[in-house]
């Protein structure tokens, strides 16, 4: 019986937890979309592998409220990100900006792609040259060459 009571209580509390994070009132519905987008892309500074949307930590709650406030004040997404970046450092952006610290990170996929293409290119051309032993044709010994000429002549006679 106590177990059941605990289960029911847990369920009720779980619902409350969802409700407390889900209900955010906006003066304009277009702000809600931008809010959802922002809290997905901003990182919780305390619980480092979660974004603001996923995290239940107090600091995330505060920052969600702050994002909400700034949206209502009419700040652009970029301004809000800069606002948080100037306080919590670039760490807070899950999508880091391109700068001298991050260009390698951003360039890496392109570099790896080009490297992969280069490897494929090398593999393809190396194989096709070894399948057709052109180089060896060039280096026929004179004996072989004579035999070949003879065979070709015989073939013409037939």
């Amino acid at each position: 019986m106590r177990g059941l009571g605990f289960a029911v209580l847990s369920l009720l509390l779980a619902n409350m937890a969802v409700a407390s994070t889900a209900v955010v009132e906006f003066s304009d519905e277009s702000l809600r979309i931008r809010y959802q987008q922002l809290v997905q892309e901003l990182r919780c500074p305390k619980c480092q592998n979660q974004n603001l949307a996923d995290s239940n930590s107090p600091i995330s709650e505060d920052l969600r409220a702050q994002v909400h406030r700034l949206l209502e004040e009419g700040m652009s997404d970029r301004e809000i990100k800069n606002y948080l970046k100037s306080r919590y450092s670039e760490f807070i952006l899950y999508r880091p900006e391109v700068n001298q610290n991050t260009w390698l990170l951003w360039a890496a996929p392109v570099v790896f792609l080009l490297f992969g293409l280069w490897v494929l290119y090398r593999l393809y051309f190396n194989r096709s040259s070894s399948d057709m032993p052109v180089e060896q044709n060039d280096q026929l010994s004179s004996v072989d060459q004579q035999r070949l000429d003879q065979l070709l002549r015989n073939k013409d006679k037939q």
Binding site: P45, I59, K85, S86, R87, S89, E90
Partner: protein, 178 residues
């Protein structure tokens, strides 16, 4: 030449291993500070001590001081408090930032454990906390006479951290050895 090229993957692997090995020593909880070298953010907040007076940056009065973010719900702050008391005894000016706390509990804390603070900023909403980029108490900021943040420590300041991170800079800024 072709033979040497076979060692390229091994070399890349070795380089990556070294980078990752160096990374092991880093504390992932330690964030780069956005505010070091920047002025302490402006604020207008009540004092914890309960009078109606509002405190602001002006109350730092051009002194070299520590701003210590603390709260009664913060367990590590208990450990840190002894060190703050002894620093205050040595004449270090410390301003408290009581962060998202209950006024009565915070006052009781200072009554029981001693008060190392010149005064306490009472930031119940955590608004100055957001401006400072606070993400966990305790945090300690070293502010110079021009109101510029010169160093920030997230986590407990103990003897070791004080000697390693604060002492030299503090002495340089104040021109006093202690």
């Amino acid at each position: 030449m072709n033979r040497l090229a076979l060692f390229i993957p091994l070399a890349l692997f070795a380089a990556l291993s070294v980078v990752l090995l160096l990374g092991l020593d880093k504390d992932p909880q330690e964030l780069p500070s956005a505010l070091v070298g920047e002025p302490f953010p402006e604020f207008f907040l009540p004092r914890l001590e309960g009078d109606q007076a509002i405190v602001s940056r002006e109350d730092f009065r051009g002194q070299v001081l520590l701003v210590n973010v603390w709260a009664t719900w913060c367990f590590a702050c208990r450990i840190e408090h002894q060190k703050l008391n002894s620093l205050a005894e040595q004449g270090v000016v410390i301003v408290g930032l009581n962060y998202k706390d209950q006024r009565a509990e915070a006052k009781l804390w200072l009554y029981e454990r001693g008060n190392p603070y010149q005064f306490n900023i009472f930031d119940a909403e955590g608004s100055l906390g957001i401006d400072l980029g606070v993400y966990g108490a305790p945090e300690t900021y070293l502010v110079d006479g021009d109101g510029i943040i010169r160093h920030r420590r997230v986590g407990v300041v103990d003897d070791r951290i004080w000697d390693a991170e604060f002492k030299a800079l503090y002495q340089e800024l104040t021109g006093v050895s202690q």
